[in-house]
């Protein structure tokens, strides 16, 4: 086939330009964008995972029934009757978990390389919205099997939305405007999780969120092209504008076939990893949902256990205030930090790397000290039983550690005079704390959400 591997440049351009699906690529890419150690291919992996999610999701949908009576048994049918159904469900499950993990890694990669600088502000915000949509996608997905995990996770989730009542109760206006109850009813369509919740979550999971995600992914990709490709350091030869532009043009690679090979390699790697995972590990399915008895401990999937640890201090502070502050912080990053010279450099500079390590150490010290205090000695309401509950809502390990991180970041900002260092410190603190809380939730919490060094020590009921 003479046309399959075009030798001259005109044909190489045509390969990309004339194909609707390949047209998403630029004709030429900068060599820096192809460095595996810069992007790790995370964005491309996410794109492929999303495609895999849609394909496996459509297959699952054919045999799934979104009704309270049938949902659990139809998932059982998928697992034990439908040929290959278990395998498809496993792939769907592990691709979903990988999407959460890799979305976070992608966020971390883009942050530490300053990928939001130089006009990439809007795309960073798209990315943050996509991250939260992926989380919500997972949340809506795990109600569908209608097992114990599903039922109690969504009961807890919808009551977190209703925890606005803690705030309105303090103001004494719950009778007048019940924001919490309104959001909860909007989410699950009822006062308790039931058929209305299942219908709504099914609609969200298979129509609303995927379509929104597709549109946003399209915008995300389109902005990369508009912003001149993946972020990279400024070229050294700033001397004459024309010369450097010309030099850059000639040093760029043709997308065909180089980018194609790279993407094919990533796709194959992704697919084979998922196939092996799905072969080795089954997606869990618990007992059928039972509104009378929760499991003990009732643990959500691993990526929400950090939040579950936070809400065990205070529902409103841990479930609403802290996540909203985190979202606001993420969106505000490109507006706080405009030091364009750091774009495309891992950790900005050796100083940035040092501040990152210091922030990790600081977070370990502060957060683990606070967790130690609450586990070993209790908190305000155990020391002073008559204390107003609002104080526990405002002062608990979650809010206190967030407060200390902000102080730390402000202190860094004062010492270095750099907003880039300030955001680096705060971002590192929040991500490290999120990991710490998640680890505590996964491995160190047992029945009744009590602390155990290992689950070998869990009491037998």
């Amino acid at each position: 086939m003479p046309d399959s591997y075009p030798e001259d440049n005109k044909r190489r351009l045509g390969k990309i330009n004339r194909n609707f699906f390949l047209h998403i690529h630029a004709n030429k890419v900068h060599p820096h964008s192809l460095k595996p150690g810069y992007t790790f291919g995370l964005g491309v992996i996410l794109g492929f995972l999303f495609v895999i999610m849609i394909l496996t999701g459509v297959m699952l949908m054919m045999n799934y029934t979104p009704s309270v009576e049938r949902a659990y048994n139809s998932v059982k049918d998928i697992m034990f009757v439908v040929p290959g159904g278990r395998y498809i469900r496993n792939i769907h499950r592990w691709a979903a978990h990988s999407m959460v993990l890799i979305s976070f890694l992608h966020l971390i990669r883009v942050f530490y390389t300053g990928g939001y600088l130089k006009g990439r502000r809007l795309n960073w915000i798209f990315g943050v919205v996509i991250l939260f949509l992926v989380m919500f996608m997972n949340f809506s997905g795990y109600l569908l099997p209608w097992d114990q995990l599903a039922f109690w996770a969504v009961t807890i989730g919808s009551n977190i939305a209703a925890s606005f009542r803690e705030l309105t109760d303090i103001l004494g206006i719950t009778q007048v405007i019940d924001i919490g109850g309104f959001i909860k009813r909007l989410l699950i369509g009822d006062d308790n999780v039931g058929q209305a919740a299942l219908s709504r979550f099914f609609m969200l999971h298979v129509v609303f969120l995927p379509v929104t995600l597709m549109v946003l992914t399209g915008l995300h990709f389109w902005r990369i092209r508009k912003d001149g490709g993946i972020s990279r350091p400024e070229t050294q030869s700033e001397g004459s504008e024309n010369k450097s532009v010309r030099a850059e043009r000639t040093s760029k690679y043709f997308s065909w076939p180089l980018v194609m090979w790279a993407e094919l390699a990533i796709l194959l790697l992704c697919a084979s990893a998922l196939l092996v995972m799905a072969f080795l590990f089954d997606a869990p399915l618990r007992e059928e949902a039972n509104p009378a008895f929760p499991e003990n401990p009732a643990k959500s999937p691993w990526y929400f256990l950090g939040i579950q640890e936070l809400v065990s201090y205070s529902a409103f502070a841990g479930g609403v205030i802290i996540p909203v502050l985190f979202l606001v912080f993420l969106i505000s990053i490109p507006y706080v930090d405009r030091e364009d010279e750091y774009i495309g450099i891992w950790f900005s500079s050796p100083k940035g790397l040092r501040i990152t390590w210091q922030s990790i150490a600081f977070t370990f010290f502060v957060t683990i000290a606070l967790i130690f205090i609450i586990i070993r000695y209790g908190w305000l309401n155990t020391w002073f039983p008559d204390i107003p509950r609002v104080l526990v809502m405002l002062i608990n390990p979650a809010t206190l550690s967030a407060f200390f991180y902000v102080i730390w970041a402000k202190w860094i900002q004062r010492n270095t005079g750099s907003s880039r260092m300030e955001t680096t410190a705060l971002f590192t603190c929040t991500i490290t704390a999120f990991i710490i809380f998640t680890v505590i939730g996964i491995w160190f919490r047992g029945p009744n959400w009590e602390f155990y060094w290992s689950n070998a020590q869990w009491p037998v009921f």
């Binding site: 009961t155 977190i160 909007l186 809400v311 309401n381 155990t382 959400w449």
Partner: protein, 153 residues
């Protein structure tokens, strides 16, 4: 002849602006009525129900009624009923040695339903009990009472 008045606006300007505003406000009003479809209209649940006779309940014990999510406590003098739904995030609490404990996030309550520790902010509600003519006990979830208030039997 000109349609322009002294402020420089033409009749055409007015019609343009008027029609744009009319279209926008009609759109907003229409979408408000459509958006109301997303807000569920919940029919009232039956808040009063029977839980059988007093002899169903052993003395000096908390009995869990799974379908009503309720603990019923009976002693020699009378009978009381407390909600089994944790006021923190809605899990079902369990009876512990000296009160109640939530399996989800570890809130602890006393046997009177008072929050002892954990993230719960409200005490457990106790419901008013009445005796029906057929001798069965009726729980009224719309009426809250003090923890000490018993239905004397």
């Amino acid at each position: 002849m000109t349609d322009q008045n002294e402020t420089g606006h033409t009749r055409r300007d007015f019609i343009k602006r008027f029609s744009v505003w009319a279209a926008v406000s009609a759109g907003i009003l229409a979408s408000i009525s459509l958006l109301r479809q997303f807000v569920p209209r919940i029919s009232r649940y039956q808040k009063r129900f029977k839980i059988g006779r007093k002899n169903n309940y052993p003395v000096n014990t908390f009995t869990y009624l799974a379908d009503k999510q309720l603990f019923v406590y009976r002693d020699h003098e009378g009978i009381r009923a407390v909600s089994a739904v944790c006021t923190h995030l809605g899990c079902i609490i369990e009876k512990s040695d000296d009160g109640f404990q939530c399996p989800c996030h570890g809130s602890c309550y006393s046997e009177e339903g008072e929050v002892l520790s954990g993230a719960a902010t409200k005490d457990l509600p106790w419901y008013e009990l009445q005796k029906d003519v057929d001798g069965q006990i009726v729980v009224d979830q719309s009426r809250l009472v003090d923890p000490e208030r018993k239905l004397y039997i």
